[in-house]
Amino acid sequence: MADRYSRQKLFKPIGTVGQQKIGEKHILILGCGALGTANAENLVRAGIGKLTIIDRDYVEFSNLHRQHLFTEQDAIDQIPKVIAAKSKLEAINSNVLIEAHILDATAVTLRPLLKEVDLVIDATDNFDTRLMMNDLLQQLHIPWIYGTCVGSTGMSYTILPKQTPCLHCLLDAAPPNGATCDSAGIISPAVQMVVAHQTTEALKLLIGDSDSLRTTLVTFDLWNNHYQMIKVDKAMDSACPACGMDATYPYLHYEATTKTEILCGRNTVQIRANREMQLAELANHLKSVGQVKGNDFLLSLDYQSYRVVFFQDGRTLIHGTDSIENAKKIYYQLVG
Protein backbone atom coordinates (compact mmCIF):
# COMPACT_ATOMS: atom_id res chain seq x y z
CA MET A 1 0.00 0.00 0.00
CA ALA A 2 3.00 2.25 0.58
CA ASP A 3 3.45 3.03 -3.09
CA ARG A 4 -0.15 3.63 -4.19
CA TYR A 5 0.65 7.28 -4.88
CA SER A 6 4.10 6.60 -6.36
CA ARG A 7 3.23 7.85 -9.88
CA GLN A 8 1.62 10.99 -8.48
CA LYS A 9 4.67 11.72 -6.32
CA LEU A 10 6.91 11.28 -9.37
CA PHE A 11 5.10 14.26 -10.92
CA LYS A 12 7.58 16.97 -9.92
CA PRO A 13 5.21 19.80 -8.86
CA ILE A 14 3.58 17.40 -6.34
CA GLY A 15 6.43 15.22 -5.06
CA THR A 16 6.48 13.67 -1.62
CA VAL A 17 5.85 17.00 0.09
CA GLY A 18 2.79 17.75 -2.04
CA GLN A 19 1.38 14.25 -1.49
CA GLN A 20 1.66 14.79 2.26
CA LYS A 21 -0.30 18.05 1.99
CA ILE A 22 -3.00 16.46 -0.19
CA GLY A 23 -3.50 13.83 2.50
CA GLU A 24 -4.19 16.49 5.13
CA LYS A 25 -6.90 18.39 3.25
CA HIS A 26 -10.70 18.39 3.48
CA ILE A 27 -12.77 19.03 0.34
CA LEU A 28 -16.53 19.50 0.09
CA ILE A 29 -18.25 18.65 -3.21
CA LEU A 30 -21.70 20.16 -3.60
CA GLY A 31 -23.76 17.89 -5.83
CA CYS A 32 -23.24 14.21 -6.55
CA GLY A 33 -24.32 13.95 -10.17
CA ALA A 34 -22.04 13.88 -13.19
CA LEU A 35 -19.49 16.48 -12.06
CA GLY A 36 -19.77 15.41 -8.43
CA THR A 37 -19.10 11.70 -8.84
CA ALA A 38 -16.19 12.17 -11.25
CA ASN A 39 -14.51 14.81 -9.08
CA ALA A 40 -15.04 12.64 -6.02
CA GLU A 41 -13.48 9.63 -7.72
CA ASN A 42 -10.44 11.67 -8.79
CA LEU A 43 -9.85 13.25 -5.40
CA VAL A 44 -10.32 10.02 -3.48
CA ARG A 45 -7.94 8.20 -5.79
CA ALA A 46 -5.49 11.11 -5.38
CA GLY A 47 -5.54 10.54 -1.62
CA ILE A 48 -7.15 13.60 -0.01
CA GLY A 49 -7.69 13.37 3.74
CA LYS A 50 -11.43 13.92 3.97
CA LEU A 51 -14.30 14.35 1.54
CA THR A 52 -17.78 15.68 2.23
CA ILE A 53 -20.42 14.98 -0.44
CA ILE A 54 -23.90 16.49 -0.49
CA ASP A 55 -26.90 15.71 -2.70
CA ARG A 56 -30.66 15.40 -2.24
CA ASP A 57 -31.32 12.97 -5.10
CA TYR A 58 -31.33 9.20 -5.71
CA VAL A 59 -29.85 7.18 -8.60
CA GLU A 60 -32.01 6.73 -11.72
CA PHE A 61 -31.34 4.90 -14.99
CA SER A 62 -31.11 8.16 -16.93
CA ASN A 63 -28.08 9.11 -14.76
CA LEU A 64 -26.00 6.10 -15.75
CA HIS A 65 -24.80 7.27 -19.17
CA ARG A 66 -22.74 10.10 -17.63
CA GLN A 67 -22.49 9.66 -13.85
CA HIS A 68 -19.51 7.67 -12.62
CA LEU A 69 -19.54 5.28 -9.66
CA PHE A 70 -23.22 4.31 -10.12
CA THR A 71 -24.37 0.89 -11.36
CA GLU A 72 -27.65 -0.55 -12.62
CA GLN A 73 -28.31 -2.06 -9.20
CA ASP A 74 -28.10 1.42 -7.59
CA ALA A 75 -30.79 2.62 -10.02
CA ILE A 76 -32.99 -0.43 -9.44
CA ASP A 77 -32.73 0.08 -5.67
CA GLN A 78 -33.10 3.89 -5.97
CA ILE A 79 -30.17 4.39 -3.59
CA PRO A 80 -29.52 8.02 -2.57
CA LYS A 81 -26.64 9.26 -4.72
CA VAL A 82 -24.28 10.14 -1.87
CA ILE A 83 -24.79 6.72 -0.24
CA ALA A 84 -24.11 4.84 -3.47
CA ALA A 85 -21.07 7.03 -4.11
CA LYS A 86 -19.69 6.58 -0.57
CA SER A 87 -19.68 2.79 -0.78
CA LYS A 88 -17.89 2.82 -4.14
CA LEU A 89 -15.36 5.42 -2.97
CA GLU A 90 -14.53 3.44 0.17
CA ALA A 91 -13.74 0.38 -1.93
CA ILE A 92 -11.41 2.52 -4.04
CA ASN A 93 -9.52 4.12 -1.15
CA SER A 94 -10.16 3.08 2.44
CA ASN A 95 -7.75 5.74 3.75
CA VAL A 96 -10.05 8.64 2.88
CA LEU A 97 -12.69 9.69 5.39
CA ILE A 98 -15.96 10.15 3.52
CA GLU A 99 -18.92 12.02 4.95
CA ALA A 100 -22.16 11.73 2.98
CA HIS A 101 -25.19 14.01 3.49
CA ILE A 102 -28.59 13.46 1.86
CA LEU A 103 -29.52 17.08 1.96
CA ASP A 104 -31.12 19.98 0.11
CA ALA A 105 -28.29 22.54 0.20
CA THR A 106 -29.33 25.96 1.44
CA ALA A 107 -27.32 28.64 3.22
CA VAL A 108 -28.71 27.29 6.49
CA THR A 109 -27.98 23.59 5.92
CA LEU A 110 -24.61 24.18 4.24
CA ARG A 111 -22.97 26.59 6.70
CA PRO A 112 -22.27 24.10 9.53
CA LEU A 113 -20.77 21.61 7.07
CA LEU A 114 -18.17 24.13 5.91
CA LYS A 115 -16.22 24.16 9.16
CA GLU A 116 -12.59 23.20 8.47
CA VAL A 117 -13.22 22.77 4.76
CA ASP A 118 -10.22 23.80 2.64
CA LEU A 119 -11.89 23.90 -0.75
CA VAL A 120 -15.34 23.50 -2.33
CA ILE A 121 -15.99 21.96 -5.74
CA ASP A 122 -19.10 23.11 -7.58
CA ALA A 123 -21.05 20.16 -8.94
CA THR A 124 -24.54 21.67 -8.68
CA ASP A 125 -27.01 21.94 -11.53
CA ASN A 126 -28.54 25.40 -11.11
CA PHE A 127 -27.62 29.06 -10.66
CA ASP A 128 -29.77 29.61 -7.54
CA THR A 129 -27.57 27.24 -5.55
CA ARG A 130 -24.35 28.54 -7.13
CA LEU A 131 -25.07 32.15 -6.24
CA MET A 132 -25.97 31.18 -2.67
CA MET A 133 -22.74 29.19 -2.47
CA ASN A 134 -20.81 32.13 -3.97
CA ASP A 135 -22.07 34.48 -1.24
CA LEU A 136 -21.47 31.98 1.53
CA LEU A 137 -17.92 31.10 0.46
CA GLN A 138 -16.97 34.75 0.00
CA GLN A 139 -18.20 35.37 3.54
CA LEU A 140 -16.27 32.39 4.92
CA HIS A 141 -13.16 32.99 2.76
CA ILE A 142 -13.16 29.52 1.22
CA PRO A 143 -11.93 29.07 -2.38
CA TRP A 144 -14.14 27.17 -4.81
CA ILE A 145 -14.06 25.89 -8.37
CA TYR A 146 -17.02 26.64 -10.62
CA GLY A 147 -17.87 23.99 -13.18
CA THR A 148 -20.77 23.35 -15.51
CA CYS A 149 -21.55 21.40 -18.66
CA VAL A 150 -24.37 20.91 -21.16
CA GLY A 151 -24.41 19.12 -24.50
CA SER A 152 -20.77 18.95 -25.61
CA THR A 153 -19.88 22.26 -23.94
CA GLY A 154 -18.68 23.30 -20.53
CA MET A 155 -16.79 25.86 -18.53
CA SER A 156 -14.76 26.14 -15.35
CA TYR A 157 -13.28 28.91 -13.27
CA THR A 158 -11.39 29.03 -9.96
CA ILE A 159 -12.68 31.59 -7.46
CA LEU A 160 -10.39 32.85 -4.68
CA PRO A 161 -12.15 35.18 -2.21
CA LYS A 162 -10.80 38.76 -2.36
CA GLN A 163 -8.29 37.81 -5.08
CA THR A 164 -10.31 37.00 -8.19
CA PRO A 165 -13.69 38.12 -9.58
CA CYS A 166 -16.50 36.03 -8.07
CA LEU A 167 -19.38 34.32 -9.88
CA HIS A 168 -21.63 37.32 -9.20
CA CYS A 169 -19.10 39.62 -10.92
CA LEU A 170 -18.99 37.34 -13.96
CA LEU A 171 -22.73 36.90 -14.39
CA ASP A 172 -23.15 40.66 -14.08
CA ALA A 173 -26.89 40.80 -14.71
CA ALA A 174 -29.45 38.46 -13.20
CA PRO A 175 -28.63 34.84 -13.84
CA PRO A 176 -30.12 33.51 -17.05
CA ASN A 177 -32.34 30.51 -17.38
CA GLY A 178 -29.36 28.41 -18.43
CA ALA A 179 -29.61 25.39 -20.68
CA THR A 180 -29.72 22.18 -18.62
CA CYS A 181 -28.79 18.56 -19.27
CA ASP A 182 -32.51 17.78 -19.17
CA SER A 183 -33.34 20.25 -21.92
CA ALA A 184 -30.25 20.20 -24.16
CA GLY A 185 -28.83 16.77 -23.35
CA ILE A 186 -25.24 15.93 -22.44
CA ILE A 187 -22.40 13.63 -23.52
CA SER A 188 -20.08 12.21 -20.90
CA PRO A 189 -16.81 13.63 -22.33
CA ALA A 190 -18.09 17.17 -21.64
CA VAL A 191 -18.39 16.17 -18.00
CA GLN A 192 -14.85 14.77 -17.87
CA MET A 193 -13.36 17.78 -19.58
CA VAL A 194 -14.78 20.07 -16.87
CA VAL A 195 -13.72 17.62 -14.17
CA ALA A 196 -10.15 17.43 -15.55
CA HIS A 197 -9.90 21.19 -15.12
CA GLN A 198 -11.55 21.23 -11.70
CA THR A 199 -9.38 18.44 -10.28
CA THR A 200 -6.16 19.97 -11.61
CA GLU A 201 -6.95 23.34 -10.05
CA ALA A 202 -7.92 21.56 -6.83
CA LEU A 203 -4.54 19.78 -6.71
CA LYS A 204 -2.72 23.08 -7.26
CA LEU A 205 -4.67 24.68 -4.40
CA LEU A 206 -4.18 21.71 -2.07
CA ILE A 207 -0.40 21.76 -2.43
CA GLY A 208 -0.27 25.58 -2.40
CA ASP A 209 1.13 26.03 -5.93
CA SER A 210 -0.81 29.24 -6.52
CA ASP A 211 1.55 30.44 -9.26
CA SER A 212 0.28 27.63 -11.47
CA LEU A 213 -3.44 28.42 -11.08
CA ARG A 214 -5.12 29.05 -14.41
CA THR A 215 -6.67 32.47 -13.54
CA THR A 216 -8.71 32.41 -16.77
CA LEU A 217 -12.24 31.16 -17.38
CA VAL A 218 -12.03 28.14 -19.64
CA THR A 219 -14.88 27.37 -22.05
CA PHE A 220 -15.02 24.62 -24.64
CA ASP A 221 -17.18 22.74 -27.10
CA LEU A 222 -15.84 19.24 -27.78
CA TRP A 223 -18.20 18.45 -30.65
CA ASN A 224 -17.34 21.68 -32.47
CA ASN A 225 -13.63 21.57 -31.56
CA HIS A 226 -13.49 24.83 -29.67
CA TYR A 227 -11.42 25.72 -26.61
CA GLN A 228 -10.85 29.19 -25.21
CA MET A 229 -9.29 30.65 -22.07
CA ILE A 230 -10.74 34.07 -21.24
CA LYS A 231 -8.98 36.64 -19.08
CA VAL A 232 -11.46 37.89 -16.50
CA ASP A 233 -9.42 40.14 -14.20
CA LYS A 234 -11.38 43.16 -15.41
CA ALA A 235 -14.67 41.61 -14.37
CA MET A 236 -13.82 42.20 -10.69
CA ASP A 237 -16.30 44.73 -9.41
CA SER A 238 -15.59 46.70 -6.24
CA ALA A 239 -19.34 47.30 -5.92
CA CYS A 240 -20.17 43.60 -6.19
CA PRO A 241 -22.67 42.65 -3.47
CA ALA A 242 -20.90 39.29 -2.97
CA CYS A 243 -17.20 40.20 -3.07
CA GLY A 244 -17.07 44.03 -3.11
CA MET A 245 -16.10 46.51 -0.39
CA ASP A 246 -19.59 46.59 1.13
CA ALA A 247 -20.72 43.05 0.46
CA THR A 248 -24.30 42.33 1.52
CA TYR A 249 -24.37 38.67 0.40
CA PRO A 250 -27.85 39.04 -1.11
CA TYR A 251 -28.38 35.33 -1.82
CA LEU A 252 -28.06 34.51 1.87
CA HIS A 253 -31.18 36.52 2.74
CA TYR A 254 -34.52 34.87 3.06
CA GLU A 255 -36.17 37.21 0.54
CA ALA A 256 -33.72 36.22 -2.15
CA THR A 257 -34.15 32.52 -1.81
CA THR A 258 -36.41 30.39 -3.94
CA LYS A 259 -39.43 29.38 -1.89
CA THR A 260 -41.69 26.39 -2.21
CA GLU A 261 -45.17 25.68 -0.92
CA ILE A 262 -47.67 22.90 -1.37
CA LEU A 263 -51.02 24.16 -2.61
CA CYS A 264 -53.40 22.26 -0.38
CA GLY A 265 -55.73 19.77 -1.93
CA ARG A 266 -54.58 20.62 -5.47
CA ASN A 267 -51.75 18.06 -5.88
CA THR A 268 -49.61 21.05 -6.87
CA VAL A 269 -46.42 22.68 -5.59
CA GLN A 270 -45.73 26.37 -6.13
CA ILE A 271 -42.12 27.53 -6.46
CA ARG A 272 -41.48 31.25 -6.17
CA ALA A 273 -38.11 32.60 -7.39
CA ASN A 274 -36.93 36.10 -6.63
CA ARG A 275 -36.47 37.02 -10.28
CA GLU A 276 -38.52 37.31 -13.43
CA MET A 277 -38.78 34.39 -15.84
CA GLN A 278 -37.42 34.96 -19.34
CA LEU A 279 -40.38 33.22 -20.98
CA ALA A 280 -39.18 33.50 -24.59
CA GLU A 281 -35.74 32.07 -23.73
CA LEU A 282 -37.30 29.35 -21.64
CA ALA A 283 -39.74 28.36 -24.39
CA ASN A 284 -36.78 28.05 -26.73
CA HIS A 285 -34.91 25.71 -24.35
CA LEU A 286 -37.94 23.61 -23.52
CA LYS A 287 -39.20 22.86 -27.00
CA SER A 288 -36.90 19.81 -27.03
CA VAL A 289 -38.55 18.51 -23.87
CA GLY A 290 -42.23 18.62 -24.72
CA GLN A 291 -45.04 20.69 -26.15
CA VAL A 292 -44.85 24.29 -24.93
CA LYS A 293 -47.89 26.56 -25.01
CA GLY A 294 -48.21 30.06 -23.67
CA ASN A 295 -48.69 33.77 -23.98
CA ASP A 296 -46.89 36.89 -22.78
CA PHE A 297 -47.60 36.08 -19.14
CA LEU A 298 -47.17 32.35 -18.78
CA LEU A 299 -45.79 29.23 -20.36
CA SER A 300 -47.25 25.76 -19.97
CA LEU A 301 -45.41 22.47 -20.50
CA ASP A 302 -46.43 18.83 -20.27
CA TYR A 303 -43.37 17.05 -18.81
CA GLN A 304 -43.34 13.39 -17.83
CA SER A 305 -46.55 12.98 -15.80
CA TYR A 306 -46.61 16.64 -14.74
CA ARG A 307 -48.00 19.89 -16.02
CA VAL A 308 -45.64 22.78 -15.35
CA VAL A 309 -46.75 26.40 -15.64
CA PHE A 310 -44.19 29.23 -15.53
CA PHE A 311 -45.33 32.77 -14.79
CA GLN A 312 -43.45 35.85 -15.94
CA ASP A 313 -43.25 37.15 -12.33
CA GLY A 314 -41.06 34.23 -11.20
CA ARG A 315 -43.68 31.75 -9.96
CA THR A 316 -43.91 28.19 -11.22
CA LEU A 317 -46.72 25.72 -10.57
CA ILE A 318 -45.95 22.02 -10.76
CA HIS A 319 -49.19 20.10 -11.10
CA GLY A 320 -49.25 16.38 -10.41
CA THR A 321 -47.18 16.19 -7.21
CA ASP A 322 -47.44 17.27 -3.61
CA SER A 323 -43.79 16.51 -2.83
CA ILE A 324 -41.57 19.58 -2.51
CA GLU A 325 -38.40 17.51 -3.19
CA ASN A 326 -39.92 16.14 -6.34
CA ALA A 327 -41.14 19.56 -7.49
CA LYS A 328 -37.73 21.19 -6.95
CA LYS A 329 -36.02 18.44 -8.86
CA ILE A 330 -38.31 18.93 -11.86
CA TYR A 331 -37.96 22.71 -11.58
CA TYR A 332 -34.15 22.69 -11.77
CA GLN A 333 -34.19 20.09 -14.54
CA LEU A 334 -36.16 22.60 -16.58
CA VAL A 335 -34.95 26.08 -15.62
CA GLY A 336 -31.34 25.38 -14.57
Binding site: D125, L171, P176
Partner: protein, 77 residues
Protein backbone atom coordinates in the same frame (compact mmCIF):
# COMPACT_ATOMS: atom_id res chain seq x y z
CA UNK B 1 -14.96 43.60 -40.06
CA UNK B 2 -15.69 42.09 -36.66
CA UNK B 3 -15.66 38.31 -36.19
CA UNK B 4 -18.27 36.91 -33.83
CA UNK B 5 -17.91 33.41 -32.41
CA UNK B 6 -21.08 31.74 -31.19
CA UNK B 7 -21.01 29.03 -28.52
CA UNK B 8 -23.45 26.37 -27.31
CA UNK B 9 -27.10 26.83 -28.31
CA UNK B 10 -26.43 30.23 -29.92
CA UNK B 11 -24.88 28.22 -32.75
CA UNK B 12 -28.07 26.30 -33.18
CA UNK B 13 -30.23 29.42 -33.16
CA UNK B 14 -28.18 31.04 -35.92
CA UNK B 15 -27.23 27.87 -37.77
CA UNK B 16 -23.51 28.65 -37.86
CA UNK B 17 -20.67 29.08 -35.40
CA UNK B 18 -19.30 32.42 -36.61
CA UNK B 19 -20.59 35.64 -38.12
CA UNK B 20 -18.51 38.25 -39.95
CA UNK B 21 -19.97 41.68 -39.22
CA UNK B 22 -18.87 44.60 -41.44
CA UNK B 23 -18.53 47.57 -39.09
CA UNK B 24 -15.75 49.81 -37.79
CA UNK B 25 -16.52 50.46 -34.14
CA UNK B 26 -19.35 50.13 -31.63
CA UNK B 27 -20.00 48.95 -28.07
CA UNK B 28 -20.80 45.39 -27.02
CA UNK B 29 -24.36 46.50 -26.26
CA UNK B 30 -24.76 48.08 -29.71
CA UNK B 31 -23.33 44.97 -31.33
CA UNK B 32 -25.86 42.78 -29.52
CA UNK B 33 -28.74 45.01 -30.64
CA UNK B 34 -27.51 45.04 -34.22
CA UNK B 35 -27.15 41.24 -34.29
CA UNK B 36 -30.59 40.70 -32.85
CA UNK B 37 -32.05 42.62 -35.79
CA UNK B 38 -30.35 40.35 -38.32
CA UNK B 39 -30.42 36.97 -36.57
CA UNK B 40 -32.84 34.96 -34.41
CA UNK B 41 -30.83 35.55 -31.22
CA UNK B 42 -33.18 35.88 -28.31
CA UNK B 43 -30.75 35.46 -25.50
CA UNK B 44 -27.96 37.98 -25.87
CA UNK B 45 -28.95 39.82 -22.69
CA UNK B 46 -27.64 36.97 -20.59
CA UNK B 47 -24.53 35.83 -22.43
CA UNK B 48 -20.98 36.43 -21.31
CA UNK B 49 -18.96 38.38 -23.84
CA UNK B 50 -15.24 38.13 -24.51
CA UNK B 51 -13.39 40.47 -26.86
CA UNK B 52 -10.06 39.04 -28.00
CA UNK B 53 -10.21 36.41 -25.22
CA UNK B 54 -10.78 39.00 -22.53
CA UNK B 55 -14.01 39.52 -20.54
CA UNK B 56 -16.00 42.54 -21.77
CA UNK B 57 -18.96 44.48 -20.40
CA UNK B 58 -21.86 45.96 -22.37
CA UNK B 59 -20.16 49.34 -22.52
CA UNK B 60 -16.82 47.95 -23.77
CA UNK B 61 -15.73 49.03 -27.26
CA UNK B 62 -15.38 46.63 -30.17
CA UNK B 63 -13.24 47.65 -33.17
CA UNK B 64 -12.72 46.21 -36.64
CA UNK B 65 -10.38 43.22 -36.44
CA UNK B 66 -11.60 42.17 -33.00
CA UNK B 67 -12.87 38.69 -32.29
CA UNK B 68 -15.97 38.66 -30.11
CA UNK B 69 -17.13 35.48 -28.41
CA UNK B 70 -20.65 35.13 -27.00
CA UNK B 71 -20.77 32.43 -24.36
CA UNK B 72 -24.13 31.54 -22.83
CA UNK B 73 -23.69 30.50 -19.20
CA UNK B 74 -25.00 26.98 -18.80
CA UNK B 75 -26.07 25.48 -15.51
CA UNK B 76 -25.89 21.71 -15.99
CA UNK B 77 -23.73 19.55 -13.81
Amino acid sequence: MITILLFAHLQESVGKDRIEFPIEQLTVKELKTALQQDYPLLELDHVMTAVNEEYARNESKVTAGDIVAFIPPVSGG
